[in-house]
Symmetry: D2
């Protein structure tokens, strides 16, 4: 099973006038966790590009349950849950200390052939190789 | 009907190595349009706070159809489609010139009583006043 | 004389807990004005790259006189003041309505030959062509 | 002597089309190091506010020697070098592995009395207490 987690401390510049992390900054926290996940399977952005595919995010959903505060340390968990036709990653953001669940989210990425610009309707073989499974 | 639109030119600092606007920056474009919408009904963030309510985003979904490029001018349309129990805003991002549809999204906000910190399960009267309708 | 100006409305997501624009966001405002300036001489980032040169910022200074607030409209003026060996741009940020001076800044960029990665100690001819002057 | 350092890995969303960290993002790296420094003397933003003073940045300079790249790990060192009339912090950004110096910078902050909005021309006593020195 392919998952990764990172710990992030909410920085001052992410906090808005309501004294909580502005909701748009969560996308960065999720990306840091997803990058850790992709590193684990040796398929980060640089490797993607070298493999001839870009994997743009085509769908993202974030459900905010509790606010994040300045200097709060949160654990961001990313888990790859689909890969056949697209990459779907689920995210959980939890308080590092208490484990309280703060946010749930997911992103969906599809392969695009960089040379032709065409979107692929099934994931290319490279993703199976990286995951160590047979297509 | 309550809607607003803004035109945004994609700035250099929003563009990533794939030469397109990084997907997290769309949240800013949507917010600028939502702020224009809230200004229209005289209920922007400052008025919200003065009314005793915060309206945090609790759910956001973005579907990315086509990439946005450096210096592309896009029209971001925001439309209030629910207000009884929560504020739901739908967004469309279109190319300014061609009108091509590039992104669809929505956000959902709920009222929180600032004094008590309690979330409200129905929108407070103030939102009906601002919309000029009877609850 | 080569100068440009843009008007920017300070967005919600740039405002911090002190209710003013976070000081790091000014770099974006300056860039938008500098891009307008570079467009004027037909030498924006895309043209730079096509000409074989990158122009990284190597020095930046910002002096903050007065804070910028949510929804404040500010005029950002960018003026090219050196080009022989490097591009130096001066910036002024003023309140749109009152003209009050809020911030002074400058950036310095040097040409880098993209092919060799070498920094140039004198500006390449292309900048003189774009400025319509004889080297 | 009052200094602190943090290690930051350059995230994907900070990297621009030239494949290097966009120059404006350095302000965030510096702030993370400055916050670590302020935590060390028990005078972070929350304590500042509780003490009745805000400390806005009024001057910032960054000299960029070498670019930062995606996933590069850098050490950001912050050192308090003045405190009598204003807080001056010097920064160095170095490659974590090689120690190569990549960026030099400084910020200057002054105390503002939150109640009156007045800028102070000498640092208030609280800063001496926090530094454990006699004014």
């Amino acid at each position: 099973m392919t998952e990764a987690e990172v710990v992030i401390e909410i920085p001052f510049h992410d906090v808005d006038v309501m004294q909580v992390a502005w909701h748009g900054h969560y996308v960065k926290y999720m990306e840091v966790a997803r990058c850790a996940l992709l590193d684990k399977i040796d398929y980060n952005y640089l490797r993607m590009e070298a493999s001839g595919y870009a994997w743009p995010v085509i769908d993202m959903r974030i459900r905010y349950a509790k606010p994040l505060r300045f200097q709060q340390r949160v654990r961001v968990k990313a888990k790859l849950v689909e890969w056949e036709n697209r990459l779907k990653v689920n995210y959980l953001i939890e308080d590092e200390k208490t484990g309280e669940r703060l946010t749930k989210a997911h992103t969906i990425q599809v392969a695009v052939d960089i040379a032709s610009g065409e979107m692929l309707y099934a994931s290319p073989d490279i993703i199976y190789q990286k995951l160590g499974i047979t297509p």
